[in-house]
Every structure is written in C-alpha cells, then in structure tokens.
C-alpha cells in the first residue's frame, strides 16, 4: 500500500484503508451507522455497522482512539518508572496489569519475591479482579438498560477499592508490586475487614442474580445472544472469561501458575454455552472463586506475620531507618538503588491473568538503566476482534449486549 505518498490524483482518499475514512459501495438496502466514538453506548472506540432492516450484516470495530504509545514511552524511562506507566492501561485492574512486567524484570534480575510478598500480590490481584468484574457488570447493566445493575456493582466496587486503598494508599493506581516484593505490608485489622467484605459480597452476588441475571427480561436479552462457538473462540484467539465461557479451559493461573496460585485451592469454572448469559455467569462464578482465594490468603497472612516483603538483594542495602519504618509502619521503603537499577542483558517473558484475560509482556534489556523493548499484548486487544465476527446476524439492539458481555475496555486495548 502506498499510503500517503500521493501525487495529486494518483492516490485518492479511498486508497487509505483507514476504517471509516474510505467510502465504498454497500448493498442497496443497507444502512450504515457509526456507533461511536462519541456515543452513549460505544466507549472510546467506534463500531461501524451496516444494517439490513434491523439486522447487522457487517461490523467493523475501529479502535485506537486512546492509543498512548505505552510501549515507546516505556523505552524512555528507567525500569521502576514503567510500573506506574503500564498500570495506566487499565487503572481499575492495576496490580494484574503490572504484575507480569515486574515478574519479567525479576526474571532478568534473577530474583524472586519472598513468599509473603507473593501472597500480598495475590491479595491485591484478586481484589482488583473482583473490582474490575464489578466495573464490567455495571457497564453491562446500563448497556441493557438496567440502571440498578449500573449503580449496584459500582457501589459494591467501592468496598473493594476502599480495601485496596487501605492496603496500598491509593484507590486505583496502586503501583503496589515492585521488583523483588511489594511496597507495603497489610495494616492491622485488615484481614478481618477483608473477611467481612467477602461475606458481604457473597450475599450481594445472590441479589445480583435475583435482580439481574435471573430477571426474565435480562435473561431474554442475553440468552443465545453473541454465541462464540468453541472452535471460533480458539481461532480468533480471544482470551479470559470470554474464552472460558465458550468451553475452553485456559487460565494463566491454571496453565502457567505464577506467584502462589498453585498453592491455593480454587476452581476454574468453564461454561459451555458461549453466549452472553454464560459470560455473565462465568464472571459471577469467578468472583466467587476470587473470594475463596482471598479467604485463604487472609488465613495465610494471619498465620505468618512479620515476614520480609522485599527481596534481600534490595533489602540488605536499606539503611536502619528503613528497617525501623518497616517494623513500625509495615511500609517497605524503596531503596535508592531502584532509581539507578541496571537490569542484566537478556530477554524475558511473563504473563498473567487479568480480569479481561491474558496479558503478556516481552521485556528485553541491553544491560542499561532503561528497557530496550517492552512489548505488551493486552487482553482487550485480543478480544476486540470478536465484534467483527460475532456481530453480523444479530439485531442492532444486541450490539450493546455483546459489547457489554465481552467486557471490552478500550484504554487497555489501545495501550
């Protein structure tokens, strides 16, 4: 493709194959509607649909409206500065999104976080996961016109954000894991509050079921809508709860356990149907499993208090003041070494299961203070393709249903 090298009249506007920017003939009875990017039901993206009557015959997901050159920005920053940067892909899922980056760098450094730090990471990851699922429920709820399901999960999400705030000091952008450990220990009485929140959430899930998932109106909207068959799900390479709802067993926590997920007793629910309703149930079941994980983590943390949360390589360079603060406040101060950290030459690869699916980081170091290359493949970027292949054949009113059930998050996809 010749792109913008245009002598006048040679390369027309139509030759630039930017979705939506070229015109072409569509069928005689078709109607082209641009859903987004400024539309109450689109998010930061555009879906171009062509409809025949009320039925979508063609759909073009057009993403990239919130592209922020994350990967390139990362190359210009010191290693530690990548953590606050990359968590801006999905700020309500911050720990899950940055964890594989931290783990990849740890691989290059040849260190591993202490056990307590691993448990703390899992703790925040699962809190994030629940909060992110609730966020998705809220958006999904308002997409099918259920305003109560919009407000309830956003309200209950506040419980988890409050806990994360207490643990890390920030509501969303926690910047919690650092190379070789985590930044803070749990505050006193945290685990008791956590257990209360777990019990509360179990009750609430039952109420969600009553007002939303089992509500006949909602059920009619979701059942057999947006079916992703098993083979198509594998073929398109979608990931996360959407993949598992289509009957494929793939969860990074199960297939390639990281941190302490192989020591915890939990289930990976796999639904068979692959429709929008199965995807909702998938998320409900996964929240239940996350609650189970959190219970075990809380028990473990109570049994093993006051263990180190930062790897010795960093912690032994810490001055006595740092150690005193950790003893009294549970706050592991960063050693100045982090700012000047040189990572040995090499390549590393790490992945994690975020709330929307698998996120992979490929990190390459040339031995300097900054990464040579950080390649990120985020879950939403892989899920976006679904719109193109699943929407045709559905009605216009199914578009928000499918959009919401995929739980697509544009800032994460565009990076």
């Amino acid at each position: 493709m010749s792109g913008f090298v245009s002598t006048r009249g040679q390369v027309g506007f139509n030759d630039l194959k930017i979705p939506g920017a070229w015109s072409r003939k569509i069928g005689k009875d078709l109607y082209e509607v641009f859903i987004g990017p400024q539309h109450p039901g689109s998010g930061h993206m555009r879906i171009i649909i062509r409809i025949d009557g009320d039925v979508i015959v063609e759909a073009d997901p057009d993403m990239g409206y919130v592209h922020r050159t994350m990967e390139k920005l990362g190359e210009g920053r010191e290693w530690i500065k990548g953590i606050p940067l990359y968590e801006r892909m999905a700020i309500h899922d911050a720990c899950n999104v940055t964890l594989p980056y931290v783990r990849a760098v740890e691989q290059l450094l040849g260190i591993e976080a202490p056990l307590r730090a691993k448990y703390l990471r899992v703790l925040l990851c699962e809190i994030n996961r629940i909060a992110a699922y609730l966020y998705g429920f809220g958006i999904f709820g308002v997409f099918v016109g259920h305003s109560t399901m919009y407000m309830w999960p956003f309200g209950d999400r506040e419980v988890w954000i409050e806990l994360a705030d207490w643990l890390t000091g920030a509501r969303l952008t926690h910047s919690y894991p650092v190379f070789g450990g985590v930044r803070r220990d749990v505050p006193a009485d945290f685990t008791n509050q956590l257990r209360k929140a777990i019990r509360y959430m179990r009750k609430r899930l039952e109420e969600y079921r009553k007002i939303y998932v089992d509500n006949p109106v909602i059920r009619a909207r979701l059942e057999d809508v947006g079916v992703i068959p098993k083979n198509l799900a594998i073929e398109l390479g979608i990931t996360g709860p959407n993949l598992r709802a289509s009957g494929v067993l793939y969860d990074v926590r199960y297939n390639d356990p990281y941190e302490v997920y192989d020591e915890l007793d939990f289930e990976i629910p796999v639904f068979q149907e692959g429709d929008a309703l199965a995807r909702v149930w998938q998320r409900v079941e996964e929240i239940k499993q996350s609650l189970r994980i959190l219970e075990q983590v809380a028990d473990w943390l109570d049994k093993h208090p006051r263990e180190p949360i930062l790897h010795d390589r960093f912690w032994k360079t810490a001055p006595p003041l740092h150690k005193k603060i950790f003893e009294t406040e549970g706050r592991a101060k960063l050693v100045p070494l982090y700012a000047l950290l040189k990572v040995p030459k090499g390549k590393a690869y790490a992945r994690a299961e975020t709330a929307r699916g698998e996120i992979t980081y490929y990190v390459e170091s040339d031995g300097g203070q900054k990464p040579y290359r950080v390649r990120i493949v985020s879950a939403s970027a892989r899920n976006a393709i679904v719109f193109k292949y699943i929407l045709p054949g559905h009605r216009v009113m199914d578009l928000p249903t499918i959009y919401g059930s995929i739980d697509y998050f544009p800032p994460e996809a565009d990076r």
């Binding site: 509050q193 006949p216 199960y254 356990p257 007793d265 990976i268 796999v270 740092h322």
Partner: protein
C-alpha cells in the same frame, strides 16, 4: 499444596415457572431496597472522607531532614519532582554556596509515592487528603517555601469527617471520625 482445578459448568436451566418466579424475585428485591436503601453515599461538602494514615495524598517536605540527595527527583516517574539550585550562606563558615532542594509540580504528579518511599531520611511525607483546589496552573508548581507547608484543605472547614468501615450487611458504613484515630 492444592492446585486449582477446572470445573465444567452450565448456566442454570430455565424452569417452567421461571418467568413468574424471576419477575417476582426481581420485584421483591426492588421493594426490599425501596424500603431500606442501605446507602453509603458520601454527601461530599457536608461530610468528607477522613482518609487513613498511609494514604498517598499531597506531599510535604521537611527541610531540616533533607540531605539534598536528589533520590526523589531521580525516581519520580512523571518528572514532577525537580531539584532547584538555591544559593545560601553556610552558618558555620559564612561562605556563599549553592544547594539543591526538591520542589514539586502538581501538574505532573501522579501520587505514586515513590519519592516518599525512596527518601532515605523521611524528609517527605504524605498528607492524607487529595481534594485541594488551586486557582491556576502556575500555583500548582510549588516553590520551596510552599512545598514545606501542607496544602490548604478547604473541605475540612465545611464538613464533618467520616470514615468508612466494611460491614457485612451494608457493605460500607460511615462512622464519624474520632480525633486521634489512625
């Protein structure tokens, strides 16, 4: 050591009376919350959330503790913390000399708290609030003087402080903040 295990599931079947039961359940739960809303909305200016100690709010410098090491400026991911050169007179020798002091630009700050955590002498600390109003952009670039004072917190004058605790029945519960709590 109990590894995770996959569990195949199917969505619950729809019974004969589903339409009746489902509608009834949904209406009942709506009525239940209509009678007892269990709300935990913060009516903001009238009451405000007294954040816990350890919250990563605005940052204040204790100049006496600062050893001019520039660790904070070096680790700042957003380049909000900068070292500025200020000439001053040494008390002992009486000589003119130039020292580097950190200042912060709140237009750039992302409140990650790296600077506070990296400071070897605890010369920086967070104040546990974040709702501060600046009149214009230039004011957000603090100089050394204003960096040493906690920012003015207007909400504190108007509202009553509350604190959220987790509750089993109601999710979060607002309790009035008592002086001296952490």
């Amino acid at each position: 050591m109990v590894p995770p295990k996959p569990v195949p599931k199917t969505k619950p079947r729809r019974g004969i009376f589903h339409a009746f039961k489902g509608n009834l359940e949904a209406l009942m739960i709506g009525v239940k919350y209509f009678i007892d809303p269990k709300r935990f909305t913060l009516i903001y200016p009238k009451e405000y959330n007294k954040l816990r100690e350890g919250y990563r709010g605005f940052i204040v410098l204790i100049k006496q503790k600062c050893i001019n090491c520039a660790s904070c400026a070096r680790i700042c991911p957003a380049a909000a913390m900068k070292m500025i050169r200020i000439p001053e007179v040494d008390e002992k020798t009486g000589k003119q000399k130039v020292k580097n002091w950190p200042v912060i630009d709140y237009r750039r700050c992302i409140f990650c708290g790296y600077c506070v955590d990296v400071c070897p002498t605890e010369a920086l600390y967070h104040v546990p609030y974040h709702d501060v109003v600046y009149q214009n952009m230039a004011e957000m670039y603090l100089d050394l003087e204003s960096f040493q004072k906690p920012p003015e917190y207007k909400a504190a004058e108007e509202g009553i402080p509350v604190r959220y605790i987790v509750d089993e029945e109601r999710g979060l519960v607002k309790v009035p903040y008592k002086e001296g709590e952490k």
